[in-house]
């Protein structure tokens, strides 16, 4: 019996198992509320961040039709490239855009046709290989490939001309203004027209995209509004902010339930010390110090908290696992380190709330004069 107070505290708790279990249940609910709401909020935020990923890092430059510009010419593309290179590592991908019919055998589909020189800079192939410099052949988006049952190596007819399919793209699940799923990409020369209908600036991070957009705006629209610069990284920032607000709100709700649990621990400890008043009086009379009484009751409260918080963490892990199994949430989102932080913080708060709630009953029991306690 190295820790007599711990031994006595455990013994005391086991005297009224139901009451102890109910008090621990309160903490359990509070911990589950904080941890699961926190984690769910975080999963939402991380998931949304992931889905919004590309629009947060892409800048789309289009000609300013209002000012009479129908396309972006080569000189402007060069200006854009220079401006971007000054502020970031972002890749500049000029696109020619057209629409047309894509055919294979008896199947036909309307598709967006992009003329693109370096598709490898912004897309990934599921099948085949994306050329560094796109000289010949067609790159087909995942959706279009499915519709026409196209595979790399097949021939496809685009606007009457036959091209060999060099690559099929990965489906793009995230939201992007330049969606390749139902598009076919040809070399620039194969798509008619002068200049480009849009220029995509692909950055690694949101701030880089923001800086690139500002640089393009400054360089190209210096004297005349020649292009529209569309970038969503600031919108993404606001969305992130919204989600962190949502997380905070959810955690706050959890906090309220933990507070209620704390009050219930306070109530239980107060009741149990009132019931044990004479017994504590006897202990004090036979020479048990105030500190030992205080310690014992605090340990009782802490044990209730530990029990509730530990089971609460387990329940939360089970809930999150269920969420993972029941929804298309990805594993890495579920295993995000921030979720662990929520779990640990909820556990710590659960125990802390219990101990704090035990303080008053413990102090009250320890400082009562044994003469008064014994008189009952």
């Amino acid at each position: 019996m190295r820790l007599p107070a711990l031994f006595v505290a455990r013994r005391n708790l086991s005297r009224n198992r139901l009451r102890s279990a109910l008090a621990a249940l309160g903490i359990l609910v509070g911990v589950v509320a904080i941890a699961s709401l926190g984690i769910f909020g975080n999963v939402l935020a991380v998931g949304a961040d992931d889905a919004l990923g590309d629009i947060g890092t892409q800048v789309i430059v289009t000609p300013n039709a209002d000012a009479g510009f129908e396309t972006i010419d080569d000189r402007t593309v060069t200006e854009i490239e220079r401006a971007v290179a000054d502020v970031s590592e972002a890749t500049v991908v000029p696109l020619r855009t057209d629409g047309g019919l894509v055919r294979r055998g008896g199947n036909a589909a309307a598709a967006t046709i992009y003329g693109i020189e370096n598709p490898a800079a912004i897309y990934e192939a599921r099948e085949g290989r994306l050329p560094e410099r796109h000289r010949q052949g067609a790159v087909v988006g995942a959706g279009l490939a499915e519709t026409l049952e196209l595979r790399a190596g097949d021939n496809v007819e685009v606007d009457g001309e036959t091209h060999r399919v060099v690559a099929v793209l990965e489906p793009v699940e995230t939201f992007t203004p330049v969606s390749p799923d139902d598009a076919v990409m040809l070399p620039e020369g194969a798509v008619g027209g002068d200049g480009y209908e849009q220029v995509v600036v692909e950055a690694d991070t949101g701030p880089e995209a923001t800086a690139s957009a500002a640089a393009v705006e400054a360089a190209v629209n210096d004297r005349e509004e020649r292009v529209d610069v569309f970038e969503l990284s600031t919108v993404v920032d606001e969305i992130d902010e919204f989600f962190s607000l949502l997380s905070g709100f959810l955690v706050g709700l959890g906090g309220i339930s933990l507070f209620v649990a704390g009050v219930s621990i306070l109530n239980v400890m107060l009741m149990s010390t009132v019931e044990r008043r004479r017994e504590i009086g006897v202990l004090r009379a036979v020479g048990v110090s105030r500190a030992d009484i205080l310690r014992t009751i605090l340990i009782e409260a802490a044990l209730l908290g530990l029990l509730g918080a530990a089971v609460g963490v387990a329940v939360t892990v089970a809930l999150v696992t269920a969420l993972y199994l029941a929804t298309p949430v990805e594993l890495w989102v579920v295993l995000h380190p921030m979720n662990g932080v929520y779990l640990l913080a909820a556990f710590a708060f659960g125990v802390l709330v219990s101990v704090v709630s035990g303080l008053y009953p413990a102090w009250k029991a320890a400082t009562e004069r044994p003469v008064d306690a014994l008189r009952g």
Binding site: V286, G287, L374
Partner: protein
């Protein structure tokens, strides 16, 4: 040297109609191994006297010495320590902890010292005739048995004085006599016993009887 020495001890309580003098200038010695019965009607100050000797309370005036040491003005924690080392209590309604076995009840006063005296506790229970009841909980014991457990508990820390508050108050005559025999046996080891009681039988077992009335020794 007296085990317990009270000199001019006065204790007042704040009552509804002004201060009530529970003990008025009481002086008294208890020698080592002496069995003293304190008798008197209700409200005569018996319990107050016991609380003062037992260091559960401090006098307003006068001094309390235990084995020559002045313990009148000790702080709460020091008072608790002296109480643990020198005083044992036996209460009228036993005050055993209902969820603990007889043995554990006797061990309790030593538990928080970090060195629970289980063997000594078992020996003491053996001595009061409860060697075969170590694992019984209080509700499985008779009143007399409970009080004998309480006596064993009072002795576990090797006190200099055992204080008994109406030790036979809840017991029938024969059982009471048995408990008083145990208390008398305690004095053989040089431990003093102070018993506060209404019961003249207790006085019969005592070496000396002190009578109180209205807070004064008569």
């Amino acid at each position: 040297m007296a085990a317990v020495e009270l000199r001019g001890v006065t204790r007042r309580y704040e009552g509804g109609a002004g201060p009530v003098v529970a003990l008025d200038d009481v002086s008294m010695d208890v020698e080592p191994g002496e069995f003293v019965a304190v008798m008197g009607p209700s409200g005569s100050g018996k319990s107050t006297l016991l609380n003062l000797v037992g260091l559960l309370d401090a006098p307003d005036e006068g001094t309390v010495r235990i084995e020559g040491r002045d313990v009148t003005d000790l702080g709460v924690d020091e008072r608790t320590r002296v109480r643990r080392d020198t005083v044992g209590f036996v209460f009228q309604d036993f005050h055993l902890i209902p969820t603990l076995s007889a043995l554990e009840n006797v061990v309790v006063p030593t538990v928080f010292g970090g060195d629970p005296a289980r063997e000594r506790a078992a020996d003491l229970l053996e001595r009061v005739g409860l060697g075969d009841r170590l694992e019984h909980t209080p509700d499985e014991l008779s009143g007399g048995q409970k009080q004998r457990v309480a006596i064993a508990r009072a002795l576990v820390n090797r006190p200099r004085v055992v204080l008994a508050d109406e030790p036979t108050g809840n017991l029938d005559r024969d059982t009471g006599a048995r408990v008083l025999e145990e208390l008398t046996a305690v004095t053989d080891d040089g431990v003093s016993v102070v018993a506060v009681t209404h019961d003249p039988v207790v006085a019969g077992f005592a070496d000396r009887t002190v009578r109180l009335r209205d807070g004064v020794v008569v």
